[in-house]
Assembly symmetry: C2
Homo-oligomer: 332 residues x 2
Amino acid sequence: MTNAGRLKNKTAIVGMDIGGTKMMAAVFDQKFHKIGVCRKKSRSKNGGETEMRVIKVIREAIENAGNPPIAGIGVGSPGPLDPATGVIIDTPNLGWKNFPLAHLLRETFKTPVVVDNDVNVGTYGEWRCTALRSKKHVLGVFPGTGIGGGIIIDGKILHGFSGAAGEVGHITIMPDGPFCGCGKRGCLEALASRVAIAKEVAALAAREDAPYILEHCGTDVNAIRSGVLARAIEAGETMVEEVVRKAAYYIGIGVGNLINVLSPEVVVLGGGLVEAMETLVLEEVEKAVAEHAMPFLRKNVRIAAAQLGDDAVVMGAAKLISERIDEGGAKK
Amino acid sequence: MTNAGRLKNKTAIVGMDIGGTKMMAAVFDQKFHKIGVCRKKSRSKNGGETEMRVIKVIREAIENAGNPPIAGIGVGSPGPLDPATGVIIDTPNLGWKNFPLAHLLRETFKTPVVVDNDVNVGTYGEWRCTALRSKKHVLGVFPGTGIGGGIIIDGKILHGFSGAAGEVGHITIMPDGPFCGCGKRGCLEALASRVAIAKEVAALAAREDAPYILEHCGTDVNAIRSGVLARAIEAGETMVEEVVRKAAYYIGIGVGNLINVLSPEVVVLGGGLVEAMETLVLEEVEKAVAEHAMPFLRKNVRIAAAQLGDDAVVMGAAKLISERIDEGGAKK
């Protein structure tokens, strides 16, 4: 890192993004420049506990930054989790159940730690680290393999009673609709996630109605990712385009519902699907919002694509802990 | 009023409920006992402006209370309105457009005034004036002619960017579903309001599948009210019961969606439909919540019937202004 060691006696903060497949830690100096990074897969081939890998990734990122003194660590992790205590309630694919992640990191690094849901933290990053920072009511929706949501109300992340508010992927928008990964039917996620799209497109490929997809992915739902969908549409696969547009329209129905309930000033859309097909997705979302949100609530609402890409969670996590420290609310 | 004049030199507060068809003002002493009330229809037969009737109703309630000095007036009014300024944006059936209601009352009564949406205020009353007052995250859903919602987050009414958050009746839960009064399709209100139920029941009556309804209301949608629906069900009209249960289930889908998004601790259900058929409605709502809200978010959520009936708005409005005065935030 060119900036390594630049801080010397000044403190730095760490933002950590724990994903289901990969994790990343980034170290930021007091001007919020990134001075050290480390990325790893979430699970090692030879087993090994996830928490040991989290510690290792943070340690290496700090080393890469030239070992500045660390003032705090912010973490975005899949939920459900308790943001008040930093306990991960249950994330089967990381092997955690009632796991006291914040406590472990606090003990290990002797520094304040805050842990929050990764989508909340990503939304927080898109809000605090872009031109949107002056807004007070922000909704983040991130369609990918699932559909995550983060809600900022009056400048604060909405956690609700359970700590896990913002499950926007599981609002029902079609009773008796297709099955969702959560076990129920007609969730937004069952209609508009990458998997929901891939399933329809795989059927098109199986019927030879999507030759580009058939050639590049076959008919395997798991092989049909956002990038190849974008390329198929560019190649003129109109039925694929219709499937993606329909899914984006459903996302827009979900966003419209949330505008009616929450009345945000800005809606940030991110995730793989948006990154691969921003114009198309935003067009359909805006159309659905015009058709499903109440005029008084939707007027003046800005619908924007996320800006920070893969850095949203590490940046949001670092902002979260640094602001918590400034407020004097961080536990050591 | 037996308590009239009891306050003498002590101050009292006024809660005002402005409805589309009737209005009520109630005066409360410092122990929050109701010491004066006045009710009138919202529109006089010989015309006359609504705002003059509002002033008259408040004046008469104060007179009925023995003319105590008034420390503040809280008002619940149909929206959309701006709770920050007390300006009613647009309520065609009261004849108000950009009408500065709070300003008018402040000038007339020379006292602090707060104006908020009637459903917000009713939810606030059900929260602050019952055993629920220790809760911090409360959702109120009031199915009637329409379906209104009030949202308390972390002890505060959610207003959002527009000031009009909480339009839970207009979340879409069935794309391409039946038409709603708002002009779009498949809103919760289009599936589960009193009108949505009455329309189905009128069709049953027209087909002679609901003889009790046919005898008592004919086939007029507007004549089929919650009370007669309850009596028809008691009389054994099973198809009417199925219609009401289906509508209540849709309300439960809406509540489930809101639990997923907001994570409340308590859901209060009120309004005419719930008052007339509490057990039946709550059964279906609880069933739908079990089927549509995420397990982690729905567990420990209490679903309760409203307690205050027609007094919810005047009590909530009075609480709101008295708390605002205590906080020092009320404008005179």
